[in-house]
Symmetry: D4
Subunit: 249 residues, 8 copies
């Protein structure tokens, strides 16, 4: 039941066209019928400028096209994650302004400029192979109107590069740290910078990395306070959470 | 916002004491304020005669007393699971009609007779050590107004006793099967009786039973159709689900 | 030993053509020889109208054909789950009335109408990717003569749609809830509706979902009473159990 | 090597008392010697008003006393987590202003007022048994100068209470959500409120909750974007991360 | 239905006192009623001289007493495993000939001599701490009438002792090998002796032995053919299986 | 050092051509040099008639050919497990008498008749999909000179067939029971027949069967005494162990 | 900041061209800027003659080429592990002296002779399938200037060959032992030879080997002192660590 | 067969008192009889000065006393790990020179000075709670004649202290790094120092540290080459391996 309908119903009550009891009966199911809309409204307001997200894995290209078409009709930006090149080509046929970020396997379609966030986000990655996940995080945050600084390949071998850029990291509102194997980097960053650190374990590694489990457990048990963790390979989730922090109020 | 309040608000609108716009504003938060109550009402209706349940594990005796007092004030029956004897003695001091089922570690306080279910439930257990969990299931179902047939200690060694009572099992509306170790019994029962079987793995066993994991996985992968599973040692959950089935409409 | 044979043997005993001792010797192995048939008979009676099920995974197309032919000779309905399109095409060549439900990967061959169940089943799914498992559950229940209401894609993002249809859910005899990732939906449904809820974790998700393990554990530890669980992706098992409940006596 | 020493060395170089080469040699080990101090300085500046934290588990009472004495000498506030009552009594003997938060098992000693954060934090818990972890999070954030709103016991049974307070939740800069068993609450909160949600799985539960593993996996695979996770029972870590977010710049 | 009853029924049919149809009806449930007895009879015959076993863990002393009394009434030998000294003292009060094997935590009561097996069994253990499990295996086999050779503490450090007694091992009909930690001993024995090897992993070890899991997996993946495995710490099971092999026909 | 060399050395000592001290020095390394040969001799004697086994998985076809050629040169029988059809065709080119057992993926080459075992082995399987593993076990035992009775597809649905053939099972010296999913069949067989049961979990199943883990744990925690277990899908190991038992002395 | 810059700065201070305070300010960030270089220098010194390593898995052929070109420009030797043949062919086009070790999947490019280590390393493997990992270890050590003795295929079946070569093993400075399945070999070697043993579990095996987990746990819980472990299939890491030991000071 | 016996046998052959054939027969079993002694001799030579080790966990105080008495009779040094204070007091009664290292729970009895190793070992620990394991490692190495440098409490918070002492670490022949929680320290040390690093995960931590599993996996998947790992809490093993390396030839 749309707010407009509620207003009309009340007007009918006020005008004596609908009895109080009948109105009570109709309003009785109101919670169930309207919570959805109001939730959506509330969300829309909060998320102004946030892209609509399509998680492509496990969806057919046709399903992705349909969902994208539906969203575009509302004029919203689109962020399609884990998109194959095939899916991108189909989307580009529909939306010539679709752009493919091949490394991150992300398609973006930008239809309106959202509010620009004041804070920025830093995305740090440990190794070359962690790049796709880091890029997914970075692009997600950018699509949410947040400026992103990238600092890639700064694992143990490149620790000095990390330390050399600590001041820069300290200026970010939130830091996404992406690492596979033993996942030690977030502990190091968290120990050096007093900023919210969102750790992303990746499935990079073999053997006892058990598909990212080692990195995940390592990050969860990090001795550095202020580190929180998202799912393995979940660059999108980390970028999203970092952007929400960076936007603040 | 209570239905009565809604009615009063509408009457004020009808009487011109409140403007339509003001009423819209007040109703705006309606979903958030009323869903709780309506949910509760809905539940109450559905659950007529169901006991209020207190899961005692991890609660202090004092907390249990307070919750029990609050429930008893509403005239509802109480089912306190995983209750120590100490908790029981305290409750009995408050409610002299409290009864302790020592083996199941359950306290019951019966304040009103619920609607009697037409269907019955059978509770089957594999070994002596599975008894407490089986009893928890049985008492839970009984407190919900369902008649319970108990068939205990009918694991592999007592398979003949099980087979001898198959006709009886076939008359139950739902069958709870409790087993530890390899948890094979629900597969056997499910293969012989065309009734809903709710399997309860128990933590009985050692070594590779890994605290009930072996039984749990065995029950989940049962080759017998119609078998569903609850958490390890969750006699209450199984008895509850079986009773809900047995009560039907 | 068929009941007819038993009767004939007894007639021989009555007519003095077979001595008591000889009959005892022959009956000695009776349990072993007849339990199978009686079990089957008993099952057949209970399952009147239930389809015969072929689990196609890990079977060659030829094996599936042979089994289907054997069942069809008995005039029973067939439900072939996890069937490839290739298997379907072969089956259709044999049985032109075979029907393929592509999304659920199920083939159905309907040879007789079973007894129509009075109760109905609701099948609820959280996300698009859970659809195939939900459909498998729905079709299974339908093949067992149960009317099915489908309520798909009502995860967190669509919670309002779920709430709007709670009354409808409340009219079902049993509710199948299918969800991947964190598997929270059964807890929500179980908390809102006083009906038996059969939860189906799906392998939808990545990383720490560990092929459905996260959803499985979440459902097993659900704080909502009355929720029982089947194996990961086991739409068939859930639909079967729900139908058994819905048929009642 | 302290900055003062560096200055003195440079003055000696300027005054010709130390040759350039000798100074180069001394500065050669500078990185190793000074990084520690500068790191501490940098941290101190960032953490102004942050308490010094003692994780008491696995430390003897005597060790705790010694560490506390050392910190108090610097005039810093102290937050001692997982402190037994025995440890508290010893600390109170030394520091009469020590305060024990029994439920959270936390001792606080407040020596100076830190900078007051502009943003606030909300701490939400699912069940009574999750209370201690939630309190640990709340007190941690308060010790960091952040105002905390507590919203306890709002699991499935109390979902309406949660929904009734959504606007309030929406005003917090960060939300800590504490839940055991299936850990579904963060998904629900994350789906309703566009704020950073820090999920804390607790070890509350039994059987397939595997000491908090079910809740942990559930939270990591949450379908709600913007949810990040800390270690099982890590109320401190969640409160700390939330406070860092709430303080912003 | 006991064979005697069948005979009587047939006599009644022969004598015309019971009609064929009535007899058919009564025999209809025969499988269910008699399979148990016949199974027991069959078992008894096979197991002549086998002890009745009481697994004491998780049973109260009183329950153990009752079961022991019931068995003794039948004149059978008793083997009570995992028995506390307290349980033993109670049993000795009832049965003065009860004997306690403290290390193996086993009580034996010998009431008749079983048939002496022709073959013998060897029980090999890796370390001192594996002794109790090895003894449980050895005593179990002895109670089944099998001669046992013990070869303890022959892990890596004592490999030479093992090799020195290979001829002796080669004369046993079955070899039980008990080992904790990495559980390598069965592989070594299995590689040197062409006899059935029953491997028993023990929970001896710490850390990555995960309560016997390391030994269990090691034994299951043994590269030596002819090695089979029982549950962690299951000395009884191994001794039982070895004795069954040793008895042969 | 070959026995012949020892003899020659001793002859030299006897003939005074080598001093006692020099001989002691040469014999000093004897253990290291000769144990291999003596072990092989010992094994050969024990294994008379046992096939040489090639585990083909992870070996190239060329490697398999080379190993087979080396063995055939010794006149031994060959059992090549997990052999692809491609490997078979190559082997047949070399050894025209090579035979392929397609279902079991086993190649056999029979060059001499081994000693015929007196005892026989029964191989029981639960479902159609367990067939390849069961066949691998059966063929392995046959290649070791043991007569095999096959009893396939006797899971829960076919329990009556199992029960009908119990007497036959009782005549086998050892019983291999192959089952996937929940792996309950060995418990049932072990409970009914007093013979050594070697349980083989298979990777048949999905979801919570976790690649055979559920069946493995179920078999390890079987409540039936006398059941031992081999690795998942290890038909060869089970057949080998059963044959070793069946051959007896 | 390069040491040269530091010297220049100090010269400026000495010459009065830069004030002490200005120099302090510039040196303030010194730790962050120089640690990297000094670390690298320090490493270079230590690693003289060590190859630069490219872990190819998860890198595109193009990325591998670029990294190799960069390293070769410095005149260093290259060790590219887990390299496909395709990657090798591309590298050979650039560097005609590139050499492919097909079994180990390693490419080596040797540009200068490093310091020759005094000590040697032994690489021992259990089975044929462990060969590639063993070769990776051996080639890694050789590229680090260490002489390697290979002793392959000496698992249980070839234990005599191992024992026959114990004296040789005893002369190595470090021993790499590679084994899959139950991973018992390092325990045996560690028990016989008083040298540092580096155990490498391999993913060779099936079922309960769980991709090398069984071997890994077995090696970690080895009862032989002096055994340390690297990741599953990590031949490179083991060879590297052994070479570091063998080089000593 | 003792070497002396061999000599006597040979003398008999030389003297014609024993025929060559008879000597061959007697020597036939030589490998089995003598390998033990020769192994022990070989070991003794290698281990000169190494302590005999008693792992006390799971042994009774009486058993410990007996073993210690046996060792002391040989004049060897004793290292008793995981010793309770009670065990120590009993040992001191027997051996007044027994010394208790309370934190490490180690008893040492020094009876002779072993050869002094030329190299030294560094033992590094991350947190206070890792101290006991680190001390066990340090004392073990010291008992093996190796000089030990301790560097404790240098986790993330104290990284500067670690960096300040890198030159010192670089002088050790082997470095033991002890850490719980996420276990990141060995990666950091391994990345900075070109020495063999032996990582010891500890069970320090809670929740997702799963008793040391997180640290163990982190160390195994360390991106720093040259790091090897021992079992959780295995300070003894790490100290032993480090000492073996430090002793070199």
């Amino acid at each position: 039941m749309h707010p407009t309908s509620v207003r009309r119903l009340l007007a009918d009550v006020a005008g004596g066209r609908v009895s109080v009891e009948a109105a009570v009966r109709r309003l009785r199911h109101l919670p169930y019928e309207t919570i959805g809309h109001s939730t959506i409204d509330r969300h829309r307001a909060l998320r102004q400028g946030f892209p609509e997200v399509i998680f492509c894995e496990g969806k057919t290209v046709q399903e992705i096209e349909e969902i994208a078409a539906r969203i575009c009709a509302t004029g919203e930006n689109i962020l399609a994650t884990r998109a194959s090149e095939e899916a991108y080509l189909k989307l580009r046929a529909l939306f010539p302004d679709a752009r493919y970020h091949a490394r991150a396997r992300v398609v973006t379609i930008r239809r309106r400029r959202g509010r620009r966030a004041r804070g920025s986000v830093a995305v740090v990655s440990a190794g070359t192979a962690d790049g796709p996940v880091a890029e997914e995080a970075a692009i997600t945050a950018e699509m949410m109107g947040v400026r992103v600084r990238r600092l890639y390949d700064v694992g143990v071998a490149g620790l000095h590069r990390l330390i050399g850029r600590l001041p820069e990291l300290g200026r970010a509102r939130a830091i996404v740290v992406v690492a596979g194997m033993e996942g030690a980097l977030p502990s190091v960053v968290g120990g050096l910078v007093g900023r919210p650190v969102i750790a992303v374990p990746t499935s990079v590694g073999y053997g006892a990395s058990f598909g990212g489990l080692a990195a995940l457990l390592g990050m969860l048990t990090s001795c550095a306070a202020g580190v929180t963790v998202v799912n393995i390979d979940n660059g999108f989730g980390a970028g999203y959470a970092a952007a929400v922090i960076a936007r603040g109020t």
